[in-house]
């Protein structure tokens, strides 16, 4: 189904959080303030790498209006955080390892006073050599950033004998692909409000993708029981993975506890840039070979990932990349290695696509090069080598079987844009200026959902009939723009036949919601769907049984409906939900908890469920300016049933825009461990001018009949294949292979014909 408003009919709904968003009425957590609050500020490192000889805070503390100046000495519990491995200091003690490292936290009457105080803190550093090249960082003589050395994590996967495989190959392609340090650039920078309560509890209003994970980490830092902390975590002005790790929370929490007063924090953009996560820059070397007929025989990959100063999810991202450089293709011989390296560059971490974007750019680049070498159509070449329905996953692990790969492949092969490509090869656009060249390219992916084997991946939720007659749907997921509330509302309406007025959705508050796991890895919609499937029968049964007693009719003659209980075969309202709630009996609550389904393999990180997707793009290259412009896109996505058409379309469009930035515009350039771009004047993300072309989204909903896993995630796939498709289109347009992103205009610039010597 081509997804748009017309084809969606009544399923195209206004989001429940929409009216407050368009009127400015919605209070984001960084919009909150209370009387007598103080302003919090973090003093960060001047150097990317230095030993700390001394920190003096006396002058700062004496400043009028300053309430607290905290250093590592004031951290009562574990002075470190990190989702996977807590090795990032809350406040540095002996050493700083990047320009975002925090040294002191200040609370003052106003931001201006806090800034003044920060200037009065005296720190003596011994500057150390900056380790900014991940390759050099691995050499034995490099400065070691952590006790275990500079390699955070290594991966390997082998099948067959790759050397022997290459000996049999007729065609071999070898290339090295580079991808940039991309910035999330969520519009709402990090911040929030930290309120100590009279009961001794701390309430944290600060955006995050996993409130319970924050609570656990803050409890560890503050050395208090988890029950002493309440995290309120939604709504969020964008995250894309960037707010999954703690950011300002440790500082706000410490300052609130120390001063006993509410603390407001809201990062400036520069603060957000220097301290925030980025997409892991990767260097991916690939050698891939085929036999004479074009069948893949051998594939050798080595991935070098710059993880920056601390672990965050560097190992997990590398695992994901390692899986996705293998992807949906069959190889007899395979040898993949990866290493994630500590450096003094900016923090790398989780970012939409989770290492898939880098991997797929390289892998699809190889497929295009091989096809060309063989003189084959690139899509035919992919088909020849693509996984069959019952093939194992990339790591030879059992996966959920679907026809997604075939369907996506066929959708692209048949779409008008791809067919136009074949015409382009033979005809030149005579109307166009001679320096404007057009090309069409496509790329494919199978993208894993969920956290994968070996990582706790809990899910669940709760339904309750509240006293006021509202049906409460309570989940531990977060709304950061992706349309989670809209998806939940739509499922409740469509699966239970409630009206939107019957429903109250509650998310993002650790005091109320069950732990449903992290809102990440394209998993939330799928896990809410699954939860509702599990809750549907017990919850409906209880409601109907209670109703049956009340209206004195057999259960079989009743059904749930809009506004209340109705007769099974009529639309007459027999009992409102409010009346039902008031009817005597025990409260009606149903809860479920389970885990994201995983593969029966021991390979950590291997996935079980995949979304298949591909994109075709038409690109125009201006060979005078060297700028490439995306004119048109066609996305085919096989992710099971469409839960919320507007949200699905929006996620693909939004992900694709982010990938367009990744491919053509964005790079957080660093010079010796310092960021060059500090704000949005020099770090450029796509604007409306960059996105004027048509985007079509084909949603392939088909799943095998016995499949009960339901909808797969679409939060990431829109962003994964765009860059390699652009690279392929550029190749067709002007004959140049792109190996480094973002594409440098100088690569595409050509001497104008009238300047060329005859």
């Amino acid at each position: 189904m081509l997804l748009n408003r017309a084809s969606s009919g009544e399923r195209w709904r206004i989001r429940p959080d929409g009216p407050d968003k368009v009127t400015g009425g919605l209070a984001y957590l960084t919009d909150m303030s209370v009387d007598h609050m103080l302003y919090g500020l973090v003093l960060r490192s001047e150097h990317p790498h230095a030993r700390i000889k001394s920190i003096h805070t006396d002058r700062a503390k004496q400043l009028k209006g300053v309430h607290a100046v905290l250093t590592y000495l004031d951290v009562p519990g574990l002075n470190a955080f990190g989702i996977a491995h807590p090795d990032q200091p809350v406040l540095c003690e002996e050493r700083v390892r990047y320009v975002g490292d925090a040294l002191a936290a200040i609370a003052a009457d106003s931001l201006a006073v806090a800034q003044l105080a920060a200037g009065l803190i005296e720190i003596e550093y011994e500057v150390l050599e900056v380790v900014d090249d991940p390759e050099r960082a691995l050499l034995p003589d490099s400065q070691q950033l952590h006790p275990k050395g500079n390699a955070l994590h290594r991966t390997a996967f082998c099948r067959g004998d790759v050397e022997a495989g290459f000996k049999q190959c007729i065609h071999i392609i070898e290339d090295i692909y580079y991808t940039p340090r991309q910035m999330h650039t969520y519009m709402e920078t990090e911040g929030g409000l930290f309120v100590p309560g009279e009961d001794g509890r701390l309430t944290v209003y600060s955006p995050t993708q996993h409130g319970f994970m924050d609570r656990m980490q803050l409890a560890r830092i503050l050395a208090v029981p988890q029950a002493g902390i309440r995290i309120v975590s939604s709504p969020i002005g964008g995250s894309f993975g960037g707010k999954d790790e703690l950011n300002v929370q440790p500082y706000g929490a410490l300052l609130a506890i120390h001063t006993g007063k509410p603390i407001k924090m809201h990062n400036s953009r520069w603060e957000s840039v220097r301290a925030g996560l980025k997409r892991h820059p990767m260097k991916i070397a690939m050698k891939t070979g085929t036999d004479a007929a074009g069948r893949l025989l051998a594939h050798q990959v080595s991935i070098l990932s710059d993880t920056g100063p601390y672990s965050t999810l560097g190992a997990e991202v590398l695992n994901f990349a390692t899986e996705h450089v293998i992807g949906p293709y069959r190889y007899l011989h395979l040898d993949v290695n990866g290493v994630s390296v500590f450096t003094n560059n900016g923090m790398s971490g989780e970012f939409r696509g989770f290492g898939g974007n880098q991997a797929v750019f390289a892998l699809e680049g190889q497929m295009d090069r091989l096809a060309e070498k063989l003189g084959m159509d690139p899509w035919t070449f992919r088909k020849l080598n693509m996984r069959a329905v019952d093939d194992l996953g990339p790591f030879d692990q059992p996966i959920v079987m679907t026809h997604g790969a075939d369907h996506v492949w066929a959708a692209v092969a048949g779409c008008p844009l791809w067919q136009e490509r074949n015409r382009l090869e033979t005809t030149m656009d005579e109307k166009a200026e001679p320096w404007i060249k057009t090309g069409i390219g496509a790329a494919f992916t199978m993208h894993g959902a969920g956290l994968g084997v070996g990582i706790p991946d809990p899910a669940g939720g709760r339904l309750k009939l509240a006293e006021d007659g509202k049906i409460e749907a309570v989940f531990g997921y977060e709304e950061f723009g992706q349309g989670l509330l809209a998806a939940l509302e739509q499922m409740l309406i469509e699966q239970f036949d409630f009206a939107s007025e019957d429903i109250r959705m509650i998310i993002g508050d650790t005091d109320i919601v069950p732990d449903s796991g992290s809102t990440t890895a394209s998993r939330a919609t799928a896990m809410m769907w699954k939860s509702l499937q599990r809750l549907k029968k017990p919850f409906s049964d209880q409601l109907l049984q209670r109703a049956a007693a009340s209206v004195d009719r057999p259960v079989e003659q009743l059904r749930l409906g809009k506004g209340g209980i109705k007769g099974a075969d009529g639309d007459e309202l027999l009992l409102t939900y409010k009346e039902l709630a008031a009817a005597a009996g025990t409260p009606i609550i149903c809860e479920t908890s389970f885990s994201f389904p995983t593969s029966s393999t021991s390979r950590v990180g291997a996935h079980f469920m995949y979304t298949y997707s591909a994109v075709v793009v038409k690109v125009e290259v201006n060979t005078l300016t060297g700028r490439a412009k995306v004119l048109q896109q066609y996305h085919a996505v096989a992710a099971g049933p469409v839960v919320n058409p507007q949200g699905y379309l929006g996620q693909i469009e939004g992900g694709s825009s982010m990938a367009l930035g990744f491919a053509l515009l964005e790079e957080s350039v660093m010079d010796k461990g310092h960021y060059i771009a500090r704000n949005l004047d020099t770090y450029l993300v796509p604007t409306i001018e960059d996105q004027r072309g048509l985007i079509e989204v084909e949603a392939i909903e088909h799943l095998p009949e016995e499949d009960d896993y339901g909808p797969r995630g679409v939060g990431e796939v829109g962003s994964v294949t765009v860059a390699p498709a652009i690279a392929a289109a550029i190749r067709q347009a002007c004959g140049k292979w792109v190996t480094k992103l973002p594409v440098e205009p100088s690569l595409l610039q050509e001497m104008p014909f009238f300047l060329r010597k005859g």
């Binding site: 929409g18 400015g24 519009m187 709504p235 349309g483 379309l649 929006g650 704000n679 949005l680 409306i688």
Partner: protein, 175 residues
């Protein structure tokens, strides 16, 4: 921060009209309008993101023109009529906001108030903008979530609504 300004005896007092109400605010002449709106008046619909006039999240109308409130200082607002997103919605959701709702012109919504203010400035001034004019008017508003597809659809729908509204007005005048 204007409390501090008052304590320090800063003599500046800003008189202006904000969302139709008359305001008199003691502040420093260089306080940014963004700070006044968000921190003093608690009008947090106007968002803060880059602080340097690049992202458009803080866009407001000053005498009908779209202006980045992070770049406008108090003294520059003296006597002016300022409309923030709260002012756009004073009479309830207007046709531009409705178009954003129906077409999915937002996701996280953080850029949305600024985006809508920019669209309003455009359509108040030019009811039949070309695509180039739309792109130009919105090129100072960054949205990281939507990919702009929904925003394009919303603006097109708003232009259509505006055309209908104008036609209706004309009809009424004729009667």
């Amino acid at each position: 921060m204007s409390n501090k300004a008052v304590e320090e005896g800063v003599p500046y007092s800003l008189h202006c009209f904000i969302n139709e109400g008359e305001e008199s605010i003691k502040t420093a002449p260089s306080t940014r309008l963004l700070t006044i709106l968000r921190d003093e008046l608690k009008l947090t619909g106007t968002k803060r993101s880059c602080d340097i006039g690049r992202c458009g999240a803080c866009m407001v109308l000053i005498d009908g023109k779209a202006v980045n409130s992070c770049l406008a200082m108090a003294y520059q607002c003296s006597g002016k009529h300022i409309t923030s997103i709260e002012g756009v919605a004073l009479q309830g959701i207007d046709y531009i906001q409705q178009a954003f709702l129906e077409e999915g012109g937002f996701q996280c919504g953080y850029c949305t108030p600024g985006m809508i203010v920019s669209v309003k400035a455009l359509l108040d001034d030019n009811s039949e903008p070309t695509d180039d004019e739309i792109a130009e008017a919105l090129s100072g508003n960054i949205c990281r979530c939507t990919g702009y597809g929904g925003i394009w659809r919303a603006v097109k729908q708003a232009v259509e609504r505006k055309r209908q509204l104008l036609a209706m007005e004309q009809k009424e005048e004729l009667i």
